[in-house]
Symmetry: C2
Subunit: 322 residues, 2 copies
């Protein structure tokens, strides 16, 4: 006789890719899944947890949560230049509400198809709502993008507009009434699109990369530290979407682009001579600054004068996010 949680496990097993995907030897249903990695590749692995009331509203729609949780995790694969392969899902639930689960699984499956990634295992447990996803990707040996290779003289670039997810927060939280031009922001928050093609295109070109989850300034700090360089951000070059400017106004939009989190857009450093080639591949590239000798992250205005950012930390859902 199956308990309700064992039924959930069967539910996910049915949702998992039935036929073995390339590289997945054994999927859900045994003590372990089995993966194979070609001899000239490495396996990239990343784990992320999302907790209800901390990383997303406790009453979040299952569909939105399912797609967002997977996208957030797969974004780490994009940041390494890895091609998605598989993921495990550890789902903790207070109870087994069938409608919510059906919605959640639909969201998860939709994002899994979009990213080309297969559910290979996990665990379903009873407890306060949270999710831990571990994602697996493949990357040619020696070509993974780390945070550690930025060199003075490189350009500092991002792969898309910044601050949109942070701009969506007042609407996510119901602090502001919904308006039509907020839809693009909400889409960015609930269904970020991991920049997988860009990450793979950056292999062998970018000297350092990561995905922006904690806000541009905070995440640039990670590259600066790991690479032992200074990053200069030119404020007037920040790419801001029309929707964000309309909803938040120019000044707030700029603040959100600098310090708002959850963008899941790639930030990377690039030797200047690689820029044209990357653009010719059709990849989105916004140059927002440069790498210099030194340390730290420095914000400048159009005349090269230092600007003290209002906030370096990040503005997330919940004041206690970590």
């Amino acid at each position: 006789m199956l308990g309700e949680f064992e039924l959930i496990r069967h539910y996910f097993a049915a949702a998992a890719c039935a036929q073995a995907a390339d590289g997945v030897v054994l999927g859900i249903g045994d003590d372990c899944a089995l993966l194979e990695v070609p001899v000239d590749e490495q396996l990239a692995v990343s784990t992320d947890t999302l907790v209800a009331g901390v990383h997303f509203p406790a009453d979040a729609a299952g569909l939105l949560l399912g797609q967002r949780a997977l996208a957030v995790s797969v974004s780490d694969l994009a940041a390494m230049g890895a091609a998605p392969l598989a993921f495990t899902l550890a789902l903790t639930l207070p109870d087994a509400a069938p409608d919510w689960l059906a919605d959640f699984t639909a969201g998860l499956e939709s994002m899994a198809r979009h990213c080309g990634v297969h559910l290979i295992g996990g665990d379903t447990t009873r407890g306060p709502l949270s999710l831990t996803l571990t994602v697996f990707g493949r990357v040619p040996k020696g070509l993974a993008l780390t945070r550690a290779g930025a060199r003075a003289g490189d350009l500092l670039c991002v792969g898309g507009s910044l601050g949109d997810a942070a701009g969506a927060l007042p609407f996510v939280l119901g602090e502001q009434p919904l308006r039509e031009d907020a839809n693009a922001l909400l889409a960015h928050y609930w269904s970020p699109s991991p920049q997988l093609a860009l990450g793979q295109a950056l292999r062998g070109l970018a000297t350092a990369a990561l995905d922006i989850s904690d806000g541009l300034l905070a995440d640039c700090g990670h590259i600066a530290r790991a690479s032992g360089v200074a990053l200069i951000v030119e404020q007037q070059r920040l790419p801001l979407s029309a929707a964000l400017r309309a909803c938040a106004g120019d000044e707030t939009a700029r603040q959100l682009a600098l310090a708002g989190g959850d963008d899941y857009v790639l930030a990377f450093t690039l030797p200047a001579e690689k820029l044209d080639g990357l653009r010719a591949m059709g990849q989105p590239v916004h140059v927002i600054g440069r790498v210099e000798a030194g340390q730290g992250v420095h914000l400048q205005d159009a005349e090269g004068r230092a600007i003290q950012p209002l906030q370096r930390g990040y503005q997330h859902f919940g004041s206690q996010r970590d």
Copy 2:
């Protein structure tokens, strides 16, 4: 400026194996870790979640929880015949209590050394206490032990005494006063020893294997279903420890061995002609029954008469464990 949770991350980073282990190309600190798998091997992956108040008491000592959480996860590698390589830890904590964290890390490190496994990444978040571990192991291609190969005529075996962890529960929960002969049971509960050497010895010998987490009868049901066979358990052959018999009495000890969970002892099916060879390797083997054509799990007495087990489900910490 680092927040308290970022400090925790640094803490774990320091705890992680500093030099790259064989197979670990990049550890903690970037968007992903990077693993390499030799061309003649596969990577075994398993994810487990433990939730406070469901899988362990919310006031559990950090040291015990750290070692138990890792042991429980590594046991899945043992069940596949895999050699441990690495793990990620997603830790959700209500707050950052330094003493508890130091204890937890010490327990985790101690079990990591014991199992030969390296922390390569994870996430630390704020929320109700829970842990999700994902473990990675290596197994030669085609030699992983699954649940699906048991054949009529095989012996049914386990790798050690059963019911000890379930026998420890009244003491873990404080329902019974501590007594000296309960120490062996508590050790089994808090610090199970994954049967890694046994699992690797079973490669190419056992036809099916798993680790007993939900109780012998329930887990044998998984082998029976996956293999399309019937498993016969001979009740008088169940290996019971002296400590369990002393603390619980013979009748309860037998019930705990059949239906108690958290043993993390391997159960496996073995062609009879392989038995002597396995014992000659010094591996612990207890024959407790046999595989027959049919389906389901059947309990018999010494004369081969069917016994109806009192309880097929499993007795865990918390009535709502899943």
